[in-house]
């Protein structure tokens, strides 16, 4: 059967992958091409690249930059940030995006309907950023700066009705917190639309990802969580499998039987084991 997806989100600022904290603080991580290359090698089910400065700077997508990192992906690639019109969508698909994520321009004319008509609903993702306002949640556009007066459920329903095939829902409050997804926010959207919902914002360890999947998300996403160690995403999948969630894990290094700490990192092995590992020959797989 169709599996739940573990997707890596890459927030890109001025051409660099950054860590994002509460939509307000950012730390540099590295080049998008390298991140896309390694996340693919580690078994990402999907990669989502979001240009966070395009809309605030009033410009469209950086197509050359997208072409450069798209070459490194052998799994579905979603690209967002700065999409203004159908021309931007066409060009992104032409340079290698499989899907486009529309955020600021989500209610712009017939953009979603036109893009879905041309490439199919599965190529159009509605990207919705929201945070707690009063007793509920409100959607903000333009890098979280511009209030829309819409609830996430309303925004999601409108976008799906217009033709968006999926909803990428990001919690601004939980962004970079490592405290887990905002499940109340997640639930409000998952209950509102039949389309697949991808959750983002706050995941710090496999248990959080599991909660998101059990809440009904089709894909659980994380950004900062994957920046800290080699095989981070592979370890997260092993963590999910150990917790009982069926996910696809087919890298030739799969950490089966290896002890993980609750935060998803490798547990320290016995010193004798580590000593013995010095003499184990590991042959890199060639296809």
């Amino acid at each position: 059967m169709l599996k739940k997806r573990l997707a890596a989100v890459l927030v890109i600022r001025s051409g660099w992958v950054v860590q994002s904290f509460g939509f307000s603080r950012h730390l540099p991580v590295g080049r998008p091409e390298i991140a896309v290359e390694y996340l693919n090698r580690w078994g990402a089910d999907e990669i989502i690249c979001l240009d966070m400065t395009a809309s605030p700077q009033g410009r469209g997508p950086d197509f050359e930059a997208v072409a450069a990192y798209a070459r490194h992906s052998q799994c579905p690639l979603t690209v967002g940030g700065g999409i203004r019109d159908l021309g931007d969508v066409e060009r992104l698909i032409a340079v290698g995006a499989d899907k486009v994520a529309v955020n600021t321009a989500l209610d712009e004319g017939s953009l979603v309907a036109d893009a879905a008509g041309l490439f199919g609903s599965q190529a159009v993702v509605a990207s919705i950023d929201a945070r707690r306002v009063g007793a509920g949640y409100e959607v903000f556009r333009n890098g979280g700066r511009q209030p829309t007066g819409l609830s996430p459920a309303q925004a999601a329903q409108r976008a799906v009705a217009a033709g968006a095939g999926e909803v990428l829902l990001t919690s601004m409050d939980r962004d970079g917190s490592g405290q887990g997804y905002d499940l109340e926010l997640a639930d409000s959207v998952i209950q509102a639309v039949a389309a697949p919902v991808l959750l983002c914002g706050g995941a710090g360890e496999p248990a959080h990802l599991l909660d998101g999947a059990r809440a009904g998300a089709s894909a659980v996403c994380a950004a900062n969580m994957f920046h800290h160690c080699e095989h981070s995403l592979t370890l997260a999948k092993r963590g999910l499998l150990d917790l009982g969630l069926e996910v696809r894990l087919e890298t030739n290094f799969d950490y089966a039987g290896v002890a993980l700490a609750p935060d998803g990192r490798l547990a320290k092995r016995d010193d004798h084991e580590l000593e013995a590992l010095r003499f184990v020959r590991v042959v890199e797989e060639t296809i």
Binding site: M1, L2, K3, Q74, E250
Partner: protein, 218 residues
């Protein structure tokens, strides 16, 4: 690429996503040419036909570029190894009921219809799903039954023709790959399926080079 190196022809008929297929072949170190030219098809050791979208539009594009004749000459009659991806597998069938009845190549005796999913499951079937095949099948060498591939489609083969050698379950079991001698079709996207996909594409290119080496192609 040396002018005499064996190469694969990726058919560009204005409707497929050729960039991803090309990227993977580049990664595998396999020369390829992307075009709608019959001359490339004639000289290639193998043909790859990708495609996402509507059946009728695809057949129309192929016909208008003279590619139906070219495929018939070199693949069906000439025995040149062919791998159709997604739509590229569907067009091997007799016809499809997508948007009215459209005629396919008719090389596999089946029709194409909307995947008859049970209640609770929606279309398109998009995401990673397991496929089931004989563990000794050469196209899946190096992979175990249950391996995951990326799917993105709303239509599938309506029946289980004898050429079916791989199946997938999305609430209903449907053919995920067909083989008629040198003619192969896969419903999933190996170019979007990371390691599994790369292995499958390597197995296909190895098969084509083997056929060429044995002098079995036109």
């Amino acid at each position: 690429m040396n002018a005499r190196d064996p190469f694969f022809h990726i058919v560009d008929y204005g409707i497929g996503n050729i960039a991803s297929v090309r990227n993977v072949l580049d990664r595998l170190g396999t020369p390829c040419r992307v075009s709608a030219d019959e001359a490339d098809m004639a000289r290639a050791v193998g043909v790859i036909l990708p495609g996402v979208g509507a059946f009728a539009a695809a057949m129309d594009h192929l016909r208008r570029r003279g590619l139906v004749d070219a495929l018939t000459r070199h693949v069906l009659q000439g025995g040149k190894p062919y791998l159709g991806i997604c739509l590229g597998m569907q067009i091997l069938a007799r016809d499809s009921d997508e948007g009215g009845q459209a005629q396919g190549l008719g090389w596999i005796d089946s029709s194409v219809r909307r995947v008859p999913v049970p209640d609770g499951l929606s279309l398109p079937h998009v995401g990673w799903n397991s496929v089931w095949f004989d563990p000794d099948d050469p196209l899946f060498a190096g992979l175990a039954p249950g391996a995951h591939f990326y799917f993105d489609h709303s239509y599938c083969y309506a029946s289980d023709p004898p050429e079916t050698f791989c199946r997938c379950d999305y609430g209903v079991v449907f053919p995920a790959a067909v083989r008629r001698g040198n003619i192969l079709g896969v419903q999933f996207h190996p170019e979007k399926s990371q390691r599994s996909g790369m292995k499958l594409l390597r197995n296909f290119t190895n098969f084509a080079l083997q056929v060429a080496g044995a002098g079995n192609h036109a």
